[in-house]
């Protein structure tokens, strides 16, 4: 056994460990998000119906205040040129506009009102024990695939 192989093994393990911690970070953030979605009851089909009937402020309050907090955070990140914990420069990708922004948005809205859930809530609802919500979730994956398949022939 040469020295290099002896040295390699512990390095590999620590690499795997740090990778594991990277993933743990996203798992914890996801748990935090899914927990909050559930506690705010924004994953409720009833809440979505109420929102599209403009009869309650709840959903608008949640989405609106989330966006305002995000705005303030992004302002501070830019103002102080904050970096990520890994020292990376934070660069935000701009959202591109194309015909699909409005057509796709409208299609998404139709589905949102019917299923009463957008992608985040679909995962949270499955976690809440609504196994039936795997059906719209799998269907959403198929919808994504069909978009990819048809992409070249759709107006953008």
């Amino acid at each position: 056994m040469t020295h290099s192989t002896v040295n390699k093994r512990p390095e590999k393990i620590s690499d795997n460990l740090s990778e594991l911690f990277q993933y743990l970070k996203f798992l914890l953030l996801g748990i935090f998000f899914g927990f909050t979605l559930t506690k705010a009851e924004v994953i409720s089909w009833f809440r979505i119906q109420e929102m599209f009937r403009f009869e309650s402020f709840h959903m608008y309050g949640v989405i609106g205040s989330a966006a305002v907090v995000g705005m303030i955070a992004l302002f501070l990140i830019r103002r102080f040129s904050l970096r990520s914990v890994d020292g990376e420069k934070i660069v935000l990708r701009p959202k591109k506009f194309h015909t699909g922004t409005i057509i796709g948005g409208t299609i998404f809205g139709l589905g949102w009102a019917l299923t009463g859930a957008c992608p985040g809530p679909l995962f949270a609802l499955v976690g809440n024990g609504f196994g039936i919500m795997l059906v719209p979730l799998v269907s959403a994956i198929i919808g994504t695939w069909v978009y990819g398949y048809l992409r070249e022939s759709l107006p953008h």
Partner: protein, 185 residues
């Protein structure tokens, strides 16, 4: 504290907490908040089938898949430790209007008679779950994002295409609410 954890959270608690996802993801990992991309990564991982849209290194986007597993676990934890004890407090107007559509079940997060395995094989259940889900996935990718990516991340980054997308979300949502749902019931 205990009651706050057990009671449903008002918008002014939940909204800012959700908004914090944006700086947390950026500062802890330099990632942009969004959920629907995960659906694309699942396609790229499971059935790329030489479609250019799914030919990319999805492994480098694995974080997004772990994030949505977390969302699922978060829902599980909330329902396990603090189960809902009362109906979702929607307004009386909405309740009355949903009753005129024939919805009688208001006790949990979802009308379980509509979203059930039995109802899946009726035209109504098929449209609500299969067609609805399909439109969510297709539309989100076509629009370049869903509620989290456009309505929260995009709007907070002052992206006007996101505002257009959100207007689209409402055109579709209102159409479904006022024209498709009454026809379905």
């Amino acid at each position: 504290m205990r009651t706050l954890l057990y009671e449903p959270w008002p918008w002014y608690i939940a909204g800012p907490l959700i908004g914090l996802m944006i700086p947390l993801l950026l500062l802890l990992a330099n990632k942009q908040f969004g959920v629907s991309s995960s659906l694309r990564h699942v396609c790229a991982a499971c059935a790329p089938m030489k479609i250019p849209f799914f030919q990319y290194n999805w492994q480098s986007e694995r974080w997004n898949l772990i994030f949505v597993v977390g969302i699922l676990l978060g829902g599980m934890l909330a329902s396990f430790f603090m189960p809902l004890t009362e109906a979702v407090p929607i307004t009386e107007e909405t309740t009355a209007q949903l009753k005129t559509l024939g919805i009688e079940e208001f006790s949990g997060l979802m009308p379980t008679n509509l979203f059930s395995w039995n109802n899946l094989f009726t035209a109504q259940g098929f449209v609500l779950m299969v067609v609805g889900g399909f439109l969510v996935g297709f539309g989100a990718r076509y629009a370049g994002g869903c509620t989290s990516g456009h309505a929260i991340m995009g709007l907070s980054n002052l992206q006007w295409p996101s505002l257009v997308a959100v207007i689209g979300f409402f055109i579709g949502g209102l159409t479904a609410t006022y024209f498709i749902l009454p026809w379905l019931f």
